[in-house]
């Protein structure tokens, strides 16, 4: 990076920092897993959009800032440093958005992207089905052509934010015959309005009692064919282009994990474990991981800037950050000892600063999210298959005949 680029990044960073200082809510928003909190998060997304910060890395023709990698990283670093609210529209912005830019028609882009960027429309992802998890390509939700509509029947599950979403982008099987020859064929990427007749969304209560995901049932739901993205039968290729995001292509999230480790240090200090050898070992281990991850984010950015291919690194990155995140939150629970069995009780941290109390209040929820991250976006076992076969070049497992 040249001195000029460096100055440019730092000027952008200063601008972002000043804007966040002015706009980030003084008290944390309620969790988005309940309606009230969700609405407040949605309002915050609108504030971000009005400030021009909804997706700084997006191309300007779609309403982004063309920030480039370095400024996008600086934005993320400032965002997490400022303790700004959790983003609720990342799936739409980074799963659907790039798909539309790459595969969508001009009409589709004009129709969906502005509302997506402003968070006027919340999108959820409809990939997994009850019988199709890791083996995603075995999916069975059907879409049969009837004139200029597809008629959709089937079920999607583990749909994050499904209970609050307006639209779903789903993988559906449009050609079962092709799928019998090769299961990745005959799949189509289809956008569906969740208010369509025949759609039923049932929120699922998660392991910690919050309602962050849902199952979605489709019964004879009529969807116009012009809501297919990337061509009928091309769904697998289109969907795979989105998975890099879930596996960690979001540059700048290292700042979030560094903030989590700082919160962990707050817990250690509040529990008066500053000189405890075990606490130093535990804190040191996760601190090292976040520093390593920070270094890797910058390496990948440099690789991307020089036109390198990040596909090979996506699975390595996903296994690493999800395990690191789990380690951070599991370590916090261990260091809280008996109080780890009590959810977020401020009495466990008498006299601690408000920021430490707040992070503890949310700790168990974040812990469970860390567990989910090792499963979603392709389980870590699937990632290990990919790493061993596509990165290391080890032989494929013999498939059942």
């Amino acid at each position: 990076m040249s001195a000029e680029q460096h100055d440019d990044v730092e000027a952008f960073r200063a601008e972002v920092r000043a804007w966040l200082a002015e706009h980030v809510p003084a008290t944390p928003l309620p969790a988005w897993t309940e309606r009230e909190g969700f609405d407040q998060h949605r309002a915050w997304e609108a504030t971000l959009f009005d400030g021009g910060y909804a997706a700084v890395d997006w191309p300007s023709e779609y309403g982004g800032r063309d920030a480039g990698l370095r400024r996008s990283i600086a934005f993320a670093e400032e965002y997490y440093r400022a303790g700004a609210p959790e983003r609720i529209n990342m799936g739409g912005l980074y799963l659907l958005g790039p798909v539309l830019m790459q595969y969508g028609t001009p009409e589709q882009c004009a129709r969906w992207i502005p509302d997506l960027l402003a968070c006027r429309t919340i999108w959820c992802q409809g990939f997994s089905e009850p019988e199709s998890g890791s083996d995603l390509a075995s999916l069975r939700t059907r879409a049969d052509l009837d004139g200029d509509h597809f008629v959709v029947n089937g079920q999607k599950i583990w749909t994050s934010m499904g209970g609050f979403a307006d639209w779903i982008f789903a993988l559906v099987r449009t050609d079962p015959e092709a799928g019998r020859r090769r299961k990745h064929d005959g799949i189509t990427f289809l956008c569906i309005d969740l208010r369509s007749p025949g759609v039923e969304v049932r929120p699922l209560t998660m392991v910690d009692g919050t309602r962050g995901f849902a199952e979605v049932f489709f019964t004879d739901v009529r969807v116009p064919v012009d809501q297919v993205v990337g061509g009928v039968g091309q769904g697998w290729k289109v969907a795979m282009s989105t998975l890099g995001f879930e596996r960690g292509a979001v540059f700048g999230d290292h700042a979030k994990f560094s903030a989590d480790v700082e919160a962990l240090a707050g817990l250690v200090h509040a529990r008066e474990l500053d000189d405890d050898a075990r606490a130093l070992d535990e804190l040191g281990r996760v601190l090292v991981q976040t520093e390593v991850y920070r270094a890797n984010v910058y390496r990948l950015a440099a690789l991307a800037e020089s036109g390198g291919n990040l596909d090979a690194t996506a699975s390595i990155n996903k296994v690493f950050w999800t395990q690191m995140q789990h380690d951070v939150f599991a370590t916090g629970l261990r260091l809280m000892e008996e109080d780890g069995a009590v959810v977020g009780d401020p009495a466990a941290l008498p006299g601690a600063p408000a920021a430490t109390q707040r992070s503890w209040a949310d700790w168990h929820h974040r812990y469970w999210y860390a567990r989910a991250a090792m499963i979603f976006g392709g389980t870590n076992e699937i990632q290990r298959n990919i790493i061993s076969e596509r990165v290391l070049g080890l032989p494929m497992e013999p498939r059942p005949a």
């Binding site: 480790v261 700082e262 240090a265 707050g266 250690v268 200090h269 500053d274 050898a277 606490a279 130093l280 070992d281 804190l283 040191g284 281990r285 601190l287 090292v288 991981q289 520093e291 390593v292 991850y293 270094a295 890797n296 910058y298 390496r299 690194t313 390595i316 296994v319 690493f320 600063p353 076992e381 990632q383 290990r384 298959n385 790493i387 061993s388 076969e389 990165v391 290391l392 070049g393 080890l394 032989p395 494929m396 497992e397 013999p398």
Partner: protein
């Protein structure tokens, strides 16, 4: 005597880094292969003057030496890839100590007689340097071969001793191709100066450099393991097609890849970041590289099975290299604790504000 320590540092040019890496890759493939390591082991003499001469003639040993003393005057951050390659080949030479840390320290005292005498010798490939960095280095790498010992103490004192003034007691090194010695200097040697920032920087450079060597050696273990499980057949198929083996290799690949990222970045940051950030990066990189090396050590032997346990097969050369390096320039446990203490100190400061 001068205390001039503010050598202007220019971030490494990517081209310099690339050139050094390619030179080393080519040279070591030809002259530091398994047969070379085996020959040095059989001789009981790790350091090979002929190999050192080649490294010197290729301009690698003198890369960081200032031009007025016969070197290329490149910035320290240009050696990241070079060190990684040296680690990958388990090169049995004190390159980090002589050509990187030694040159750094001497260059910090450019007008001293020690620097003007020894930098040209180092650049010409005629001198090996040992370094002591306080509690991080109870043993000196290649201690029995060094011509000059730089003794840096935590209070900032930097002294130089020539071989004549050293009582050297070789110890039985776990890694015989990275021999260690206890050294007792006689007398006061030559005082280069009292400069805590030089000592601090030398420690950071050594720790970051060791992380690169370690990541490179771990990478070699991963590569050898992948090669082996691809050709080794049991139950009528390559053992590397069994998921238990594949996932063990994948877990190792994750750690080795991330260790490499962190180690290269730690060296790169030596000329870009402030000293505190550079130290944090170096400490983190070495701590994590030690962790990755432990995994590489265990997984490589486990996945090789019996063959890896023989003296005849080459795997143990790298197993011992990673164990030796992991135990040098700060272990994972001590570096982690240092980092945790520093973070907690910052936490207390923030709480007090």
């Amino acid at each position: 005597m001068t205390l001039e320590t503010t050598v202007p540092r220019v971030p490494a040019d990517d081209d310099d880094r690339q050139v050094l890496t390619e030179l080393a890759t080519d040279l070591l493939a030809r002259h530091c292969d398994r047969e070379h390591l085996r020959a040095r082991l059989d001789l009981g003499q790790a350091h090979d003057p002929a190999l050192w001469r080649r490294l010197s003639e290729a301009g690698l040993v003198s890369a960081l030496v200032p031009p007025e003393h016969g070197g290329a005057g490149l910035s320290t951050s240009s050696v990241s890839g070079l060190l990684h390659v040296l680690g990958r080949h388990a090169t049995p030479e004190p390159f980090l100590e002589t050509a990187v840390v030694g040159v750094e320290v001497l260059s910090a005292f450019p007008d001293s007689a020690v620097a003007t005498t020894w930098l040209p010798r180092i650049a010409a490939g005629e001198a090996l340097v040992g370094v002591r960095l306080g509690p991080l280095t109870p043993y000196v790498v290649h201690g029995a071969d060094v011509d000059l010992l730089l003794d840096l103490t935590p209070d900032g004192t930097v002294r130089a001793f020539t071989a004549d003034d050293l009582d050297v007691t070789p110890v039985q090194s776990l890694d015989e191709l990275r021999p260690l010695a206890s050294i007792e200097p006689r007398g006061d040697g030559e005082l280069l100066g009292v400069a805590p920032e030089v000592v601090d920087r030398a420690r950071t450079v050594a720790v970051a450099g060791a992380a690169c060597l370690l990541a490179g050696a771990s990478r070699a273990l991963l590569d050898q393991t992948v090669d082996y499980v691809t050709v080794r057949h049991q139950f009528g198929r390559p053992v590397g097609s069994f998921q238990a083996v594949k996932h063990a290799a994948a877990d190792l690949a994750v750690m080795v890849d991330m260790a490499t990222s962190a180690a290269l970045a730690a060296i790169d940051s030596l000329d870009r970041s402030d000293p505190d950030d550079a130290r944090r990066r170096a400490w983190s990189a070495k701590a994590y590289a030690g962790d990755a090396a432990d995994r590489a050590n265990v997984a490589a032997l486990q996945l090789h099975g019996g063959i890896g346990f023989t003296w005849e097969y080459h795997l143990h050369l790298w197993l011992k290299r990673v164990m030796g390096l992991a135990a040098s320039y700060g272990t994972t446990a001590t570096l982690r604790r240092d980092l945790a203490r520093e973070l907690l100190a910052r936490t207390r400061e923030a709480a007090a504000r």
